[in-house]
């Protein structure tokens, strides 16, 4: 019997706060790097042109209103910030935003699709041409 075990009988070690902190930092870095990866993708408005066919059914109809019981005009997304559109689509896909139609659509989109769609809508203004594919 050595001296150590005599003075310190086995007991579950309390969690070391320092290790907890390290673990926390590790996971924070992991999630940051995956967010950074999504942001590093470069969107293309030209590529987005062929990917917005699901969006146009609601978002390209002036004065279009949707949903029940709260009926409202679907948001204008032409001229919106590209990264916001991509992050909103991500939020629907992850379930942070619950809207069922948008969740179903975003589930079918890749990270690249989302940034392309973001760039496509961000490039729109009052004088930009209509989508030639629609």
């Amino acid at each position: 019997m050595n001296k150590l075990s005599a003075t310190k009988p086995f007991s579950p070690k309390p969690l070391n706060p320092f290790m907890l902190l390290l673990g926390g930092i590790f996971f924070a870095c992991m999630s940051l790097s995956s967010a950074a990866q999504a942001q590093d993708l470069k969107g293309s408005a030209e590529a987005g042109k062929a990917k917005v066919w699901l969006c146009t059914g609601c978002h390209s109809i002036p004065d279009y209103r949707a949903d029940y019981p709260l009926v409202y005009h679907v948001p204008k997304i032409g001229g919106q910030n590209s990264a916001y559109i991509a992050s909103a689509l991500q939020a629907y896909k992850k379930g942070e935003r619950k809207h069922p139609t948008m969740r179903a659509i975003s589930a079918s989109l890749s990270d690249q699709d989302m940034v392309d769609i973001g760039e496509y809508y961000a490039a729109q203004n009052s004088s930009s041409p209509m989508n030639s594919l629609k």
């Binding site: 209103r65 032409g78 990264a83 203004n125």
Partner: protein, 113 residues
């Protein structure tokens, strides 16, 4: 006669209750410091991941702020740390006023194919 008076009063109160107040919305949005993220013009946001709000549909802005209040609702909840804490401090008329103010601002948002 009496009935007509009461009826007119009731009608007037409906109008008063539902009319959003743009000036109150402007004051409130300044107090809440929304411009710190969304930009002083509510168009030039400080980060591209934050939305442009100026000129957005009034009823959509109302819906979006309400959705942060009911973040787990299966049909229109939205979960976002910053917007959640902002929206939960607002009453329904306050949200209507903010939405009315933002929708009244000139903005570049368009509806296009």
């Amino acid at each position: 006669m009496k009935f007509t008076t009461i009826y007119l009063l009731l009608l007037a109160s409906i109008g008063l209750a539902s009319a959003a107040d743009i000036e109150s919305g402007k004051k409130l949005i300044a107090e809440r410091n929304c411009a710190a993220c969304h930009g002083a013009d509510y168009f030039t946001s400080i980060a591209p991941t934050y939305p442009r709000l100026a000129g957005q549909h009034e009823d959509y802005l109302y819906y979006a702020l309400r959705s942060y209040q009911v973040e787990t609702n299966a049909n229109y909840g939205r979960k976002n740390a910053v917007m959640g804490s902002q929206a939960k401090g607002l009453t329904d008329p306050q949200i209507r006023n903010i939405a009315a103010y933002l929708a009244s601002l000139p903005g570049p948002l368009v509806v296009k194919k």
